[in-house]
């Protein structure tokens, strides 16, 4: 493919593509990502819709927080079980809300590390108001114009500081 046909002007997401250059040689070009430039809004729309439906199920007690994060992070049961170092049947129990309270705190911390969240996020749903609408912020912190929400770790592995900053 010729360089002019493959190059995408999009600074936020850069990558290296190989292409035919103007002089006929083949080589690398630094380009923007075609799919991020053109379709990132669609990606986030689907992610938000998925999150919304899972949060509803979480609130209704139909799924456990482990199921929520596993689905959002696109992990299979087998892969998550291997990462937590438990058998798959045990993991399946943890996906059910009735078994979630029986998980040891130390094991819950292992799950939290895999999902890269503080343990406390298994027990709360953060809601923020944006464009006159309350939206869930449980998965990844929403970037907002006026406020900044950060969860800062402490030396105590189970304690996190949730900092809400008025920018």
């Amino acid at each position: 493919m010729k360089e002019k046909d493959i190059f995408v002007d999009y600074k936020s997401h850069q990558l290296i593509l190989y292409a035919e250059k103007e002089d006929g040689s083949y080589g690398p070009i630094q380009s923007g990502s075609y799919i991020t430039k053109n379709y990132i809004d669609d990606f986030w729309l689907k992610k938000k819709n998925l999150e919304k439906s899972l949060v509803e199920k979480l609130k209704e007690g139909e799924i456990s927080p482990i199921y929520y994060y596993m689905t959002m992070d696109e992990l299979s049961e087998k892969e998550l079980a291997a990462r937590v170092k438990i058998c798959r049947s045990k993991l399946r129990k943890h996906l059910k809300p009735e078994h979630f309270p029986n998980i040891k705190l130390s094991l819950l911390k292992r799950y939290a590390d895999i999902f890269n969240i503080p343990v406390v996020n298994f027990f709360q749903i953060l809601i923020i108001k944006k464009d006159k609408e309350f939206i869930s912020n449980i998965y990844k912190n929403e970037k907002l114009v006026n406020i900044n929400i950060e969860q800062l770790p402490t030396k105590n592995p189970l304690v996190v500081i949730t900092r809400i900053e008025d920018k």
């Binding site: 990558l15 593509l17 690398p28 799919i35 991020t36 669609d42 689907k46 998925l50 291997a82 937590v84």
Partner: protein
């Protein structure tokens, strides 16, 4: 505190990029396409099963093979190490950096928090070069990031010692010996022969050309694995990401392989490879067409059986042309 003078360059792919950068640092002038081609990086596999949340395909050889094959075919020697104890893995990395040795480490890509969040997925086969340390921050040269980046210790440790399939176990490597005289012709021929063999002859129904056909046949069944239309759209659009954005150099490594063949033809004076290079570039154009098609139908939620069959057909066409291509390639390199 240590910081090595390291020429950071973005690269198409993390493993070929990190191997190339370390070889360049060690004084061997070699390009990423040459590393990729000599190590027989090009491949195809269609994978599904309990390990995967959804069927997936791969377009390159197994992680680790690029370094191993470069070692075998160019005579480069590497020091490699894995660690059961994360503290020992961290101490060893720090010790090497103190000695001004840049080191490649294997990590779970998910924890590389300098990369945009929508790109990051759990995959234990990402390679980065660590080229220094400032306080508790490591200086990272990542092929997927435009510049050197300071990276927090905690995230690096999480990435290096993630569990699961292909768990990195703190794996690290760096070259210890680069031969002065390299028989590039032999290395190129071996690289091409092996790649052709893997694409044509592996007796496994989901690998190589058979894998592309399996993918073509299976994509029409994807709706049964999806939760809903948005999930299906997401997975279909991931075809574009896997072919273009996840470190392939475009068209599922076909463009970088075309570049390798051209470079190889010049290096060993083989005009047949130049012709094959042009053909591979055209094959890549066809893969690019698949990428654009999946992005379009995914966005439009145009994912009925007819459209998926159409997708299957254009994927199958790639199998047909690649089968002829690799046979011809095998024949001219004998």
């Amino acid at each position: 505190m240590s910081e090595i003078t390291f020429n950071h360059k973005m690269a198409a792919h993390c493993e070929s990029g990190s191997v190339t950068a370390l070889l360049n640092h060690a004084g061997l002038e070699i390009s990423e396409p040459m590393v990729f081609g000599i190590s027989s990086g090009i491949f195809f596999g269609y994978l599904k099963g309990p390990r995967f949340a959804f069927p997936v395909f791969i377009v390159r050889s197994k992680p680790g093979q690029i370094r191993k094959n470069i070692s075998k075919r160019l005579g480069v020697k590497y020091h490699t190490a894995s660690f059961k104890n994360p503290q020992k893995g961290e101490d060893e990395l720090d010790r090497l950096l103190e000695q001004n040795i840049p080191v490649a480490v294997q990590v779970d890509f998910y924890y590389m928090n300098y990369i945009l969040s929508h790109e990051r997925v759990h995959i234990n086969a990402h390679f980065i070069n660590i080229v220094g340390k400032k306080g508790t921050k490591y200086i990272v040269s990542d092929s997927y990031f435009p510049k050197l980046v300071e990276f927090d210790r905690e995230s690096l440790m999480k990435g290096r010692f993630a569990e699961g399939s292909m768990a990195p176990k703190g794996f690290m490597f760096y070259p210890t010996y680069v031969p002065e005289n390299i028989d590039y012709e032999k290395a190129i021929r071996t690289g091409i022969k092996k790649a052709s063999y893997y694409m044509l002859k592996l007796p496994i129904p989901f690998l190589g050309i058979k894998g592309i056909r399996k993918f073509a046949d299976s994509v029409v069944e994807w709706p049964k694995y999806a939760r809903d239309i948005e999930h299906l759209s997401h997975e279909i659009m991931k075809i574009n990401v896997l072919l273009e954005d996840q470190g392939t150099g475009g068209a599922g490594f076909r463009f970088i392989y075309a570049t390798f063949l051209r470079e190889a033809s010049e290096m060993i004076g083989h005009s047949g490879l130049l012709e094959m290079s042009k053909r591979m570039m055209e094959i890549g154009d066809g893969w690019r067409e698949i990428s654009l098609f999946t992005a379009k139908i995914g966005k439009n939620r145009d994912l009925g059986q007819d459209r998926l069959k159409e997708l299957g057909n254009i994927i199958r066409k790639r199998a047909d042309v690649e089968e002829v291509f690799f046979r011809d390639l095998q024949n001219i390199i004998k």
